[in-house]
């Protein structure tokens, strides 16, 4: 599949085609044309191009065109040999820290770093003098001169993966260092290494041509392209093609290697991760929302957000991934609503879609989506809408490290919100940033505002993030797993802060969490999501006791709390969540549900509200669960 991607690019196709051609000539050239390249034509010494000799002949009357073709093998073989030497030596040197321990490894790498600093050609000439003139000496020289660069690359790549736990696990299991290198390290860095080797081969080819041209490389009677160029140079003003012919061959072969390398680098270098890249800033980027018929915005007074039939679809080659499949709910002013569910249930996607933070190619559709009385699906001036959203909607993400730009100070990043959305001056905006940091209980806000994000602890960054949301006057705060990366004690503080902010500003809160306890602590109402749908909605205080959907009840029972019965195994939910690209007919939870029957598997239950306004989507809502499910292991 990846190889296909390489060939699909024009660069890859051209490069790979050229490479195949060059290699074919290298393999078969001497077999096919050696006779014609060595036959002496005394009638045509140093002749120019003619029908018989396309680019002329040399001083013995030998056909130069065929000599160029035959020289391909030696030129390519030398380049590949030199690259192989560089690579093997580079891997050994680069893996030194892994093989001989950190201290000795540091010495080796120090030496390598010094060598990398030398100009490559200087090293080649130096080694060429040591190893003597000739093909073998040149190959050694070019190979050795290329080794430091490979060693550096290897070292960096290995350092990147040796932090991985599987390397640590192998060490704990007593696997030898050499085996760790061969079985774990090398296979996982092979791709970038091969890409670089391909490009290095192109470079080596050019270096050889240069060496032979200078007379330090291949010696007569052998010949490579550099040697042919050197021979042709004398007559360059009379028969330019005699020197240019081998030159063109060098260029073509060099292009073949480098283009193939480039294409592989482009195909392998950046892994395209399916799904949405999480936006890095709290500021709103204009979401591409397409309404399937924007209906009248029936915003009741006192409703800050209402959404009907929200759908989020990630396009894919075969089956599009239906991350959110029709979600309808509303949030009243000042209300705290929690969303719980497993990973993959669509809860984060829902949050991102509401905040208009989903970008192409992911599609967001809804029958209506009204925030603060404004229909977000309606066509209109996106610029002014974005400005208004930027001050009335705040978003807090799970990982506060990636939410801030690491190269800017925290204060100005907060201030930017007010400068952009409210048109405040630099000074006024900074003053407000300091004030807001104080409001989220950051100690010494003046000093803190002048610090960089990395100088903040995780909890502090999350506070600053909430502070950024408070630069405007938010009517809704969307918090997506805001405390998952934090310690319990810090989590407590951040949750308390959110509660206080809500009390002080009257903002509503949409809190997404996988932790049932967190949601019940903070929220008034809970939406339970499964496979892209809301399966149950009920007051938070009733979650543990009055839930009717089997999934909600299983989710609550699966989490141990400080009162869990220690004599029994924990309840588990058997099976796995459905694949969102292959949604089965009927209830999505049926395969894991102890109550499911044929009706459940055939007909999808609708989300129905009862008299109290609680909603549940289950044919068997509220029925007693069989008691023996606890022993099943997922």
């Amino acid at each position: 599949m990846r190889a296909a991607r390489v060939l699909l690019r024009p660069v890859g196709l051209v490069g790979f085609g050229l490479l195949v051609l060059v290699l074919l000539v290298a393999v078969f050239g001497p077999v096919l044309w050696d006779g014609r390249a060595t036959v002496v034509d005394t009638g045509n010494l140093l002749a120019g191009p003619s029908a018989g000799h396309w680019i002329g002949t040399d001083n013995l009357g030998r056909d130069l065109f065929f000599r160029v073709l035959v020289a391909t093998r030696l030129s390519i073989a030398l380049a590949l040999a030199a690259t192989a030497i560089s690579m093997v030596l580079g891997i050994v040197l680069g893996a030194a820290p892994l093989l001989v321990g950190r201290r000795a490894g540091r010495l080796v790498m120090g030496a390598v770093n010094v060598l990398v600093a030398f100009p490559g050609l200087l090293l080649v000439l130096f080694f060429a003098v040591i190893f003597g003139v000739g093909a073998r000496g040149a190959a050694l020289a070019v190979g050795l001169a290329g080794a430091p660069a490979f060693a550096r690359l290897c070292h960096t790549l290995i350092a990147g993966i040796s932090e991985r736990d599987y390397i640590a696990a192998a060490r704990i299991a007593g696997v030898s260092r050499l085996r760790i290198l061969l079985r774990h390290a090398l296979p996982n860095i092979a791709q970038p290494l091969i890409v670089n080797a391909t490009m290095a081969a192109g470079g080596a080819l050019l270096t050889f041509a240069g060496l032979s041209f200078l007379g330090l490389g291949v010696q007569a009677p052998s010949y490579d392209w550099g040697k042919l160029m050197q021979d042709g140079l004398n007559g360059i003003y009379v028969h330019p093609l005699a020197a240019l012919g081998p030159g063109i061959a060098v260029i073509l072969a060099g292009l073949a290697f480098n283009l193939t390398g480039e294409a592989f680098a482009a195909a392998f270098g950046i892994d395209v991760i399916p799904g949405v890249v999480r936006p890095r800033q709290v500021r709103n980027t204009p979401g591409k929302i397409r309404g399937s018929g924007a209906t009248t915005a029936s915003a009741d007074a006192g409703t800050v957000l209402s959404v009907e039939d929200l759908r989020v679809t990630i396009p894919a080659a075969r089956n599009p991934i239906r991350a959110v499949r029709g979600v309808t709910f509303a949030i009243r002013d000042g209300e705290a609503v929690g969303v719980v569910g497993e990973s993959g249930s669509g809860k984060s996607m829902t949050a991102l879609a509401l905040a208009q933070l989903i970008e192409e190619p992911t599609r967001v559709e809804a029958n209506h989506l009204v925030f603060g009385g404004e229909d977000l699906m309606a066509a209109g001036d996106p610029e002014s809408r974005r400005k208004r959203l930027g001050t009335s909607l705040a978003v807090v993400f799970q990982d506060p490290m990636t939410s801030f730009n690491p190269v800017h100070r925290v204060g100005p990043q907060l201030a930017e919100v007010s400068r952009f959305h409210q048109g405040l001056s630099r000074r006024a905006a900074f003053a407000r940033a300091v004030d807001r940091l104080r409001a989220v209980k950051v100690r010494e806000p003046e000093r803190r505002a002048r610090q960089y994000p990395f100088e903040f602890s995780g909890g502090m960054r999350q506070r600053a993030m909430i502070g950024m949301g408070l630069m405007g006057t938010p009517r809704l705060i969307i918090a997506d797993e805001p405390t998952t990366a934090l310690d319990v004690t810090v989590q407590r503080q951040v949750l308390e802060l959110l509660t206080e902010v809500r009390r002080d500003t009257g903002a509503a809160l949409l809190l997404i969490s996988h932790d049932v306890s967190v949601v019940t602590d903070v929220c008034d109402r809970v939406l339970v999501m499964y496979a892209g749908r809301i399966v149950e909605e009920l007051p938070a205080q009733d979650l543990r006791t009055l839930a009717r959907h089997p999934y909600t009840r299983a989710l609550v029972a699966a989490v141990p709390d400080m009162e869990t019965d220690l004599t029994k195994p924990l309840a588990v939910i058997p099976g796995l969540p459905i694949d969102p690209s292959r949604v089965p007919p009927g209830c999505a939870f049926a395969a894991r549900c102890p109550l499911a029957d044929d009706h459940c598997r055939a007909a999808e239950p609708r989300l129905q509200a009862d008299a109290a306004g609680n909603r549940v989507a289950c044919h068997k809502a509220g029925q007693a669960l069989p008691t023996d499910t606890a022993e099943v292991t997922a």
């Binding site: 306890s517 989490v559 400080m562 220690l566």
Partner: protein, 262 residues
């Protein structure tokens, strides 16, 4: 009586002291919970026991002998937090498990042993040929446990093994931990910042704060009537605590008579 014993263990990185003379014993067949906030040194303690962190003071003994950190014999094994990083993406499940086995086995014997280990963690033997990319987080964590068991360890150090998992899967892994202890008579050091989880699996709890163990004792005692200020602080931070406190008539978390498991 197999016992892993940390004696006055110190670890410094440069001028930064991570562990300040920590002493802790883990008896045969016992699960010791280690709680504390991130940066308190919990993971470093475990990493020191398997030779991943250099000791600057003290000793770590297994049955009164230093824990071997060289050679094939590795009676102390560790399971990591992130099952997405702890399995080599290019090796099959079977290869990963086989790598940790002590002795070289024949092809048949190796397959049988892999199947046995997978069965211990409730995975199908057919999984041995899958690469980790095809497994869910919970399944990967079970493979990581099977790999640790392959070395026939006396003690397993479990470093936040459920915190990267979905709550629905966490329960299955916790059940497995208790089952393994019961059936294999293993000793475990169970590191977690989740007190409810530690309460569920651990016989004894050690509370770590700033590189020191500040409180240590039977789980019911430490979580039931905490003596140290920091332990009390941790307990009030447990989510759901406020909810229970407000739910008046329900019995209090901290006091009362938690049923001890057998």
């Amino acid at each position: 009586m197999s016992v892993l014993s940390f004696r006055d263990v110190s670890v410094c990185y440069g001028s930064h002291t991570v562990l300040k003379g920590v002493s802790l014993d883990i008896a045969q067949g016992e699960i010791v919970g280690l709680v504390g906030e991130s940066g308190s040194g919990k993971s470093t303690l475990a990493r020191a026991a398997v030779g991943l962190a250099p000791l600057t003071g003290g000793r770590i003994l297994l049955d009164d002998r230093p824990v071997p950190t060289r050679g094939r014999e590795r009676p102390v094994q560790m399971v990591f937090q992130d099952p997405y990083s702890s399995l080599d993406p290019r090796m099959t499940v079977g290869e990963s498990i086989a790598e940790a086995m002590r002795e070289r086995l024949g092809k048949q014997a190796r397959r049988a042993e892999i199947a046995r280990l997978l069965a211990l963690v409730h995975l199908d033997a057919a999984r041995a040929d899958d690469r980790p990319g095809r497994l869910s987080g919970g399944q990967r964590q079970r493979v990581a446990l099977a790999r640790a068991l392959a070395a026939r360890p006396e003690v397993i150090l479990a470093d936040e093994i459920t915190s990267a998992l979905d709550v629905s899967v966490q329960g299955a892994v916790l059940n497995l931990v208790r089952e393994m202890r019961r059936e294999l008579d293993l000793s475990l050091l169970f590191i977690s910042h989740n007190l409810a989880v530690v309460r569920y699996v651990a016989d004894r709890v050690a509370v770590m704060y700033d590189g020191e163990i500040v409180e240590h004792g039977p789980t019911t005692q430490v979580l039931g009537s905490p003596q140290h200020e920091y332990t009390r602080h941790l307990l009030t931070a447990v989510p759901g605590a406020a909810h229970r406190a407000s739910a008046g008539n329900r019995h209090d978390v901290l006091s009362p008579t938690p049923k001890e498991h057998t």
